[in-house]
């Protein structure tokens, strides 16, 4: 199948203050692949994710999602295909109750009431949070907020799931259940994280970014065991591969 492809070709991006964030990014992710994006702080991971659904537009180069090239006109269409989960769930849960928040996306897609309810219930079940549906987000714990934020994105039934530091702020148990959850998704996944063990667990492929370019791209098991490469990029071996 060709419609779940993500392709970046020579993507450049510069912030208004002059910082060059992306300096010619090239990669291609095929259907059903799950890819980890790693790199030092400020390497351009978040900027890269923000290009995936057209929040930021490349200064030059092309981003292609499925058979659509990202332009101002195709942006709305692309946002239906790519679901992005943010690092800070407070930024993402903006409605007064969990139910309203998860329903926000489906309602914007113009679905009728019955199917919206069904979608919301399904998405909340998926992350084991159905009991939270009537709570306001400010009464949830961090782990619960993350779970609901994922449900809110899953309720749109995106083809591609992009996540920015999904395990930040989670306790080990919530992190473990997140990993189990991520493994059950059959979507194409792109996960930007410093949690290299999570990437090793969930993603078959790993892309290392440094100073806005792709430094390395290959199977996670190979890349994440290359001590020299990782240390060059302010990273270290995943804990599970460290032997002392």
């Amino acid at each position: 199948m060709s419609h779940h492809i993500v392709e970046f070709k020579d993507v450049f991006f510069r912030y208004p203050d002059g910082t060059q964030a992306l300096g010619g990014i090239n990669f291609r992710i095929t259907h059903g692949e799950s890819v980890g994006v790693v790199g030092a702080n400020g390497a351009g991971k978040s900027t890269l994710l923000q290009h995936m659904n057209g929040y930021l537009m490349p200064a030059s180069g092309t981003v292609t999602i499925g058979d659509l090239r990202l332009t101002k006109r195709t942006r709305q269409e692309i946002r239906r295909k790519v679901g992005i989960v943010f690092q800070n769930p407070d930024d993402q849960l903006f409605m007064p109750t969990v139910f309203d928040d998860v329903a926000f996306g489906p309602l914007n897609l113009g679905m009728d009431e019955a199917s919206v309810r069904e979608r919301v219930n399904k998405a909340l079940c998926m992350v084991n949070s159905l009991a939270l549906r009537d709570k306001p987000p400010h009464h949830l714990s961090c782990g619960q907020k993350s779970a609901v934020a994922i449900a809110a994105v899953m309720a749109m039934e995106p083809d591609i799931l992009a996540m920015d530091e999904p395990a930040a702020n989670l306790d080990p148990k919530s992190r473990r259940s997140l990993i189990t959850l991520l493994k059950t998704f059959k979507h194409s996944k792109i996960i930007a994280s410093h949690d290299l063990d999570l990437i090793l667990d969930v993603c078959g492929r790993c892309i290392v970014i440094g100073d806005g370019v792709v430094v390395a791209d290959g199977p996670s098991s190979e890349i994440l065991s290359d001590r020299a490469l990782l240390e060059e990029n302010s990273l270290e071996l995943p804990l599970s591969l460290q032997r002392r």
């Binding site: 923000q50 659904n53 929040y55 709305q76 946002r79 239906r80 679901g83 992005i84 943010f86 800070n88 407070d90 930024d91 993402q92 849960l93 903006f94 409605m95 007064p96 109750t97 309203d100 329903a103 926000f104 996306g105 309602l107 914007n108 897609l109 009431e113 919206v116 309810r117 306001p136 987000p137 400010h138 809110a152 994105v153 749109m156």
Partner: protein, 269 residues
């Protein structure tokens, strides 16, 4: 009161609204309409009216009892905002010195009467507004306003205010804690540092607003906040509204207090 206490206090008003009483279960639209009519009726009295306002205290008292709301909490909240009403009325006794009545040899000026009237109206309106929030979830009030035809932009502003009030408070709390931890004694708690803190808070808020907008766009936001119909007006709500309107009408146009006074006088005679 320290900042932390204040913060949890706001949370308390919010928590009260999750109750499960008859008042809580009424349709938010019915309560919003009822409250508005109540407010309009109370402020429609002339500025020297005192006796006719008395029966209106029945409504907040009923809400407190049936809704199981702690009275002291509501009174405390009212005291916090009372300076506004006091400053509006405080000059009336000085400016308006015509004699209204002579009680036990002391002449009472119309200024004092109108001051008292302002205080009574203030007590009635603020307590009922607070009780509306304490017995109805904030999102319920917002959806009610939206469905009663208030502009979408206005309602979504209210929704965001409610949602991010708590986030912003936490942010402020963290900043203040960080400052206190590193300012030993008086240094560092001065005005200059405070002004900078406000600046930082503002910048963080702008950044957050941008991220929230991004999150909204990512989920297909196109200008209007969609909402599901969640409640229906049932018989209970209509009954509440009709009793409310009937009582307001009677209290407004018939001198209840005076009537009761006369009956009592007759009985005593």
């Amino acid at each position: 009161m320290t900042f932390d206490e204040k913060y949890f206090d706001i949370g308390r008003l919010d928590r009260l609204s999750y109750g499960e009483t008859f008042v809580h279960r009424l349709d938010p639209r019915a309560k919003v309409i009822g409250t508005m009519l109540f407010l309009l009726t109370v402020v429609s009295f002339s500025k020297y009216e005192i006796a006719a306002l008395a029966p209106f205290f029945l409504y907040p008292m009923l809400l407190v009892t049936v809704g199981e709301i702690p009275v002291r909490f509501i009174i405390k909240k009212m005291i916090v905002v009372s300076p506004f009403a006091i400053f509006i009325g405080i000059f009336n006794p000085i400016l308006d010195t015509r004699t209204a009545a002579v009680i036990l040899g002391v002449s009472v000026s119309t200024g004092w009467v109108s001051f008292l009237s302002i205080l009574l109206k203030f007590t009635l309106t603020i307590s009922v507004a607070l009780l509306l929030i304490a017995t109805t979830s904030f999102s319920g009030v917002c959806h009610a306003l939206r469905r009663l035809g208030f502009p979408a932009l206005f309602v979504s502003q209210l929704l965001f205010l409610y949602r991010y009030l708590f986030v912003l408070m936490e942010e402020t709390m963290r900043i203040i804690r960080a400052r206190d931890m590193r300012s030993f004694g008086k240094r560092g708690t001065g005005l200059r540092v405070f002004v900078r803190l406000i600046g930082i808070l503002f910048l963080r808020t702008v950044d957050r607003a941008e991220r929230i907008y991004y999150a909204m766009l990512s989920r297909g936001f196109a200008g209007d906040m969609p909402a599901l119909k969640r409640s229906r007006m049932v018989l209970r709500d209509l009954a509440y509204l009709s009793v409310m309107i009937a009582c307001l009408w009677v209290f407004r146009f018939f001198p209840i207090t005076e009537g009761i006074g006369r009956r009592v006088q007759e009985l005593l005679r």
